[in-house]
């Protein structure tokens, strides 16, 4: 039975992964012919909910109604058939193929009179497809050069192709996952113009985003996710950015961190001036930043707003993929033309944001993981030969000091828990008593006990006179540890506060691009 009001109704949707409850009883309603925003921090559960809606993963419990009809689908195909289409954050486009072929893929019309052939072998009627698409493009104002290779087209047009893919399949409900993440401001305006036209034609549009400004100016209604639940559902006209920010960050369990008094500030351990990176490589725009010894500078921001790029630029300044412009000084020395090894040897410790990718050799024993990056250190390497005894002694000491479990030095690191892996990295990076510590997502995927320990170590480094640059998508963590907080949004630093100067809500607003 068709539902005249609601295009989508989700009731009590729950999904549990091994250790986390990604969605705990999510309710969501989307009005027909509206633009509906779904907003929330990283890990709030919005992507999981959308994946279930699109048939990519199966819910543990809960119900989904599409236009009044309960859905029981298992694959995206079922969702497509029900009239749902999704534009993924990473486009599903084959670069060397034409726009036309990318749109047709999987729904190719056959040349008339070839119906006797098996479907796979029927020639594709591109002329007919083009006619149909021309009509769609005209109706919604989405012109595309059908013959152009997708990889030669700008990102905005690629996104248009993705939308056309859905329209070509007669999707009535369009889900767009972070559609503005890769667009220039002009492209964003164009996108929302187009979405309004689609809405005027009766389509229902669901936008997943973390940008408050976009939600405020382009949506009719907003659902806010927080920690796997819906924390609010409001009419856009009846709310304001501050209220949304409050719903988004909310009051989580406040971290209990004993912050010792701040020591006197010393020299600058890091000075970044006018750092830039082209948008095609990730985007940084004239970032200025200083970290002095004896302080923790925290960077708050929703992930993907330039934090990773900033760290990569500081650590690999000579790599053209990491830095387009700007200069970097470490301990007062200009290191802009230095290799990573040389910069780190000055006394820089790094806790990388993705420890599996950038920090560890998971198939190697703890000793070798401890050695990684210290392998040229004269303590551990003499005349090119690894000093095993010194290494093993250091590892045993680290196991004691950092309470690493299991306390075995020759066990593969892949067998340790996340928290203990992180402790191995921290032990290693503290080996050289760094005077400048970069801590990126230091407690991600780490158990509660280890979180406290890691926080204490970071603060102890500060007490001992190191400068710390902390990057975390956990706002609580940034607030609890930082003496100074910078907020990054869209590759820029958009706000700066001293400890206690700003509330969580104010910072949350800036993180969403609000003023």
């Amino acid at each position: 039975m068709a539902d005249p009001t609601w295009a989508i109704r989700i009731e009590g949707l729950t999904k549990r992964f091994r250790h986390v409850v990604a969605n705990a009883g999510v309710d969501l309603r989307v009005r027909r012919g509206s633009i509906h925003g779904v907003i929330g921090e990283n890990g709030a559960g919005k992507s999981t909910a959308m994946k279930m809606l699109y048939g990519l993963i199966k819910p543990d419990s809960g119900k989904i109604f599409i236009e009044g009809e309960e859905s029981h689908w298992r694959t995206p195909q079922d969702a497509i058939r029900a009239g749902i289409g999704m534009v993924h954050q990473h486009f599903m486009l084959a670069g060397p193929h034409s726009a036309l072929d990318n749109i047709l893929l999987g729904a190719e019309p056959s040349v008339p009179g070839t119906g006797w052939l098996p479907r796979a072998l029927r020639p594709v009627d591109r002329t007919r497809a083009k006619e149909k698409l021309e009509a769609i493009a005209q109706r919604y104002g989405l012109p595309v050069d059908w013959e152009a290779k997708v990889e030669d087209l700008p990102v905005g047009i690629q996104q248009r192709i993705e939308i056309l893919k859905l329209l070509y399949r007669d999707a009535r409900i369009l889900i767009l996952d972070e559609p503005t993440a890769v667009l220039t401001p002009q492209e964003v305006v164009a996108l929302f113009d187009n979405l309004r036209k689609l809405k005027a034609e009766g389509k229902t549009i669901l936008i997943i985003t973390h940008k408050l400004k976009e939600v405020m100016s382009f949506t009719d209604r907003v659902t806010v996710f927080r920690a796997g639940r819906v924390s609010g559902e409001v009419e856009t006209a009846e709310t304001n950015p501050q209220e949304l920010a409050n719903l988004m960050v909310g009051r989580k369990v406040m971290l209990q961190v004993d912050v010792p008094p701040q020591p006197a500030l010393g020299e600058a351990v890091l000075k970044v001036e006018n750092l830039g990176l082209a948008r095609s490589l990730g985007k940084l725009e004239s970032v200025d930043l200083e970290v002095r010894s004896g302080e923790v500078v925290g960077i708050a921001g929703v992930e993907g707003n330039g934090q990773s790029e900033l760290l990569q630029a500081v650590l690999h300044p000579t790599d053209a993929d990491c830095r387009s412009s700007g200069s970097i000084q470490v301990f007062g020395q200009n290191v802009t033309a230095w290799t990573t090894a040389r910069i780190k040897s000055l006394g820089v410790g790094v806790i990388p944001e993705d420890r599996h990718r950038e920090g560890l050799l998971l198939e190697a024993p703890m000793t070798e993981n401890y050695l990684l990056g210290l392998h040229s250190d004269p303590n551990f390497s003499k005349k090119g030969v690894i000093q095993r005894e010194a290494l093993e002694t250091a590892c045993r000491k680290a196991i004691q000091e950092f309470d690493i479990r299991p306390a075995a030095i020759d066990l593969e690191l892949g067998r340790y828990s996340g928290g203990n892996q992180q402790k191995v990295i921290i032990a290693r990076e503290f080996e050289r008593n760094p005077r400048f510590l970069i801590a990126a997502q230091p407690t991600r995927g780490v158990d509660v006990g280890a979180i406290e320990f890691i926080h204490q170590r970071i603060l102890r480094a500060r007490t001992e006179g190191a400068g710390v640059l902390l990057v975390s998508s956990e706002l609580d963590e940034v607030l609890a540890l930082s003496d100074r907080i910078l907020v990054m949004y869209d590759g820029r630093v958009v706000g700066q506060f001293l400890r206690g100067q700003a509330t969580e809500q104010e910072i949350g607003l800036l993180m969403g691009g609000g003023k």
Binding site: P76, Q77, M92, L93, H97, N102, L105, A120, L121
Partner: protein, 293 residues
């Protein structure tokens, strides 16, 4: 060079190119779907053997031709089982398939004929004449047309380029790759059959002589596109024919021409093309990556 000798050279170019054309097309189909195929050599060997054995047994070269397709497909199925189903490394498994084929062929010969070296010679009337050559060009045209014009041709190309795009569009990547690998076995098998029942009158060991790898080179040189790949096969065939012709010939001075430099040409240019020194070859983006559903 006289007109006759030029025509002669061209004719032998076409002849020696035929097995390459089949094998390279086989490689193209598999690699465009995202599956590396260094097992072409092995598929050619079993194709050559099966064709010779069945032609000898039945007297019908076309049955032999069919047997070559079947044998190539069986070997391709073993390869597909390893790399698609069991996710073995495609290079490793390809190497193993080549070893398997090279080792099995003499074994089969001995079991069937009591001699390891080769199969009994066929009579001239039992051999296929120019038909494989014509068929090869037909196959080039068909594959080119198929890739460009049909639905499954598009699926194949996207499977090798962006498999997720294909699977989100509702087409099974695994099925497409299976079909491609099996078809590559058929085509490479025919390449082998051309050697054993068209260009010569028996299967003998080592008869493929690295042509599977030369086909791979032609495929790269032809940038994974059917018509340019066919052109590369003809070019490499020309080098081969020229090299045979010039063996021991004294063109200048007193020494015969060092034909080795003509022999290595196809491989050397492939290296240069891959390194971007001569043009640019771009492999399908997802080539060699297993696809997890």
């Amino acid at each position: 060079m006289s007109f006759d000798s030029v025509m002669d050279l061209l004719a032998s170019t076409l002849r020696v190119s035929t097995p390459l054309l089949f094998a390279a097309l086989g490689g193209l189909v598999s690699e465009r779907s995202g599956v590396v195929n260094i097992a072409l050599e092995g598929m050619m060997i079993v194709g050559a053997l099966a064709a010779a054995v069945l032609t000898h047994a039945t007297g019908s070269p076309w049955l032999g031709w069919g047997a070559a397709a079947g044998a190539g497909m069986v070997l391709a199925a073993i390869y597909g089982l390893s790399v698609i189903r069991l996710r073995a490394d495609q290079i490793v498994a390809g190497t193993a398939i080549n070893l398997l084929a090279a080792g099995s062929a003499p074994f089969v010969c001995k079991v069937l004929y009591g001699a390891t070296g080769q199969t009994p010679a066929l009579e001239l009337s039992q051999r296929l004449g120019e038909s494989p050559l014509i068929l090869a060009f037909v196959c080039v045209a068909v594959v080119a047309l198929w890739l460009r014009s049909t639905a499954s041709g598009l699926w194949l190309r996207v499977a090798g380029e962006h498999p997720q795009a294909l699977s989100t569009a509702g087409v099974g990547v695994v099925r497409v790759r299976w079909a491609a690998v099996l078809l590559s076995g058929v085509l490479a098998g025919w390449g082998g059959a051309t050697l054993s029942i068209s260009l010569s009158s028996a299967f003998s060991r080592g008869m493929t002589g690295g042509r599977g790898f030369m086909a791979l080179a032609a495929l790269i040189f032809g940038k994974w596109k059917p018509v340019p790949t066919a052109a590369a096969c003809l070019l490499f065939g020309l080098a081969d024919a020229l090299q045979i012709r010039l063996q021991g010939v004294v063109l200048w001075g007193t020494e015969p021409v060092p034909v080795q430099f003509i022999q290595i040409l196809p491989y050397a240019v492939t290296i240069l093309v891959l390194a971007g020194f001569v043009g640019q070859a771009r492999a399908p983006s997802a080539l060699g990556r297993p696809f997890d559903t």
